[in-house]
Symmetry: C2
Subunit: 233 residues, 2 copies
DNA sequence: CTGCGAAACGGGGTAAAGTCCGCTTAGGCT
DNA sequence: AGCCTAAGCGGACTTTACCCCGTTTCGCAG
């Protein structure tokens, strides 16, 4: 009976029933989202449909937004893996600039794919660092440091993080009316990001950012046509 | 008698009592905010304290966030005036690059000043363009076009808007616990913005060397992150 | 001054998030 | 196996944004 075997650091393992319930809730939430959309998912509704008490739902996720964050987490982890140990240029091995550009494109596509849930994971009255954003921040900081050391690096990193994640999570989301945002937008913002990065690193003389020949599997249909103006509502 | 005198375009003037009540509500709201902070302002509380019905409050502002947007509006308009017809470099007359930089600094300071209210004006489930952001977008677009024409201008503009406004309304706000964000942050993000713009326009060879007390190659006196259980592997 | 239609008002009603606390149960210990 | 306690559970309760609709008021025309 030595209580010092695990003095700190391991808060305690999670009880089996708790795990079971969490997974059941997550599964149920996914069903409800697929069936009726994110904002038809209410805490009472979820609890009832899962056959559990409302208190349990809150105990597991803390807040409504917490559910969506948990839902996103699995995919986020997969994305993270691609970045940390996948093939270049997204993963390690390519030049920093290439990686910056690849990261921006991949992240844009990711956010577009997960737009509804990512948005629902936001929490009025809490800052954003919803795990995803902070990875972006860390990663951008590292690559920027290598690719183009500059003054005020930390603040610039925060701003570029916002530039990358802000538009898709915040500025352009459709309220709930159908139109889940033209999928071409991914390529569109990806191209813009590339322009931004290339100019940051090489200056304006760099060749125009056409021809994104980044051809990993994240390339969900960018049949983007140029020349359209009007960027946002 | 002639209903075609004002056929369209002028929905109708606002009734005198309506105006009076709106102003009274705004005044009351300001008092409550000053006394107890933004999130102690509830619709019922405001209505009661103003001696009006709850329905009236909603009729005037539509939604809770609407109140804060209305509150911000006056200051926002004043800011807008400085930009559109104040003295350079913020107002017209200076070089586009100068104006871009000045705008970023001024906007940063503005947002920092109005952080609490701006944040409260956000509306879960509606995109952001809360009037303020769209002015930023328009203005940035115009100046960018003059200062450094580039491909994908519209999307880049959206991203830069996010870079400018995102950090202060989203990524860095204090939940409600005191610490209203170090006022030095204004200069900090202003400097970062300047770096960003100068590199976008001139490339990395440009010598920054500007005012401001930050001049190291990469400073780091910046809040990185708070208690984050099990950080990223 | 009087009548009238549209706008504004009031406040009770609903739905959904989040809190509390007494009861139940998993799972380590003896 | 039986105990014991912290973790987990449920659901009533509270708070708040937001809706609805019968009633009141404004302000214009005659």
């Amino acid at each position: 009976m030595d209580p010092f075997l695990v003095p700190f650091g391991t808060p305690r393992p999670e009880r089996a029933d708790a795990v079971r319930n969490r997974e059941h809730l997550l599964r149920t939430a996914r069903e409800m989202i697929a069936a009726e959309g994110v904002d038809k998912v209410t805490m009472d509704g979820l609890a009832e449909r899962a056959g559990l008490g409302k208190g349990t739902v809150f105990r597991r996720f803390g807040t409504r937004a917490g559910i969506f964050r948990a839902l996103l987490d699995a995919d986020e982890r997969r994305f993270q893996e691609q970045v940390l140990s996948g093939p270049p240029p997204l993963g390690p091995g390519a030049e920093p600039v290439e990686r910056l550009i690849a990261y921006g494109r991949a992240r844009t596509a990711f956010l577009l794919d997960h737009q509804a849930i990512a948005r629902a994971g936001l929490d009025r009255n809490r800052p954003v660092p919803a795990s995803g954003a902070s990875l972006t921040q860390l990663h951008l900081r590292m690559l920027l440091l290598q690719a183009a050391p500059m003054p005020h690096l930390d603040a610039v990193t925060v701003q570029l993080t916002a530039a990358l994640e802000g538009p898709l999570v915040l500025y352009l989301s459709r309220p709930e009316g159908e139109a889940p945002l033209d999928p071409g937008a991914a390529g569109f913002f990806g191209d813009a990001w590339q322009t931004l990065i290339e100019r940051l690193v090489h200056g304006p003389q760099a060749a125009p950012a056409r021809d994104s020949r980044h051809d990993s599997r994240h390339d969900n249909g960018h049949d983007s046509r140029r020349g359209d103006r009007k960027g946002a509502p």
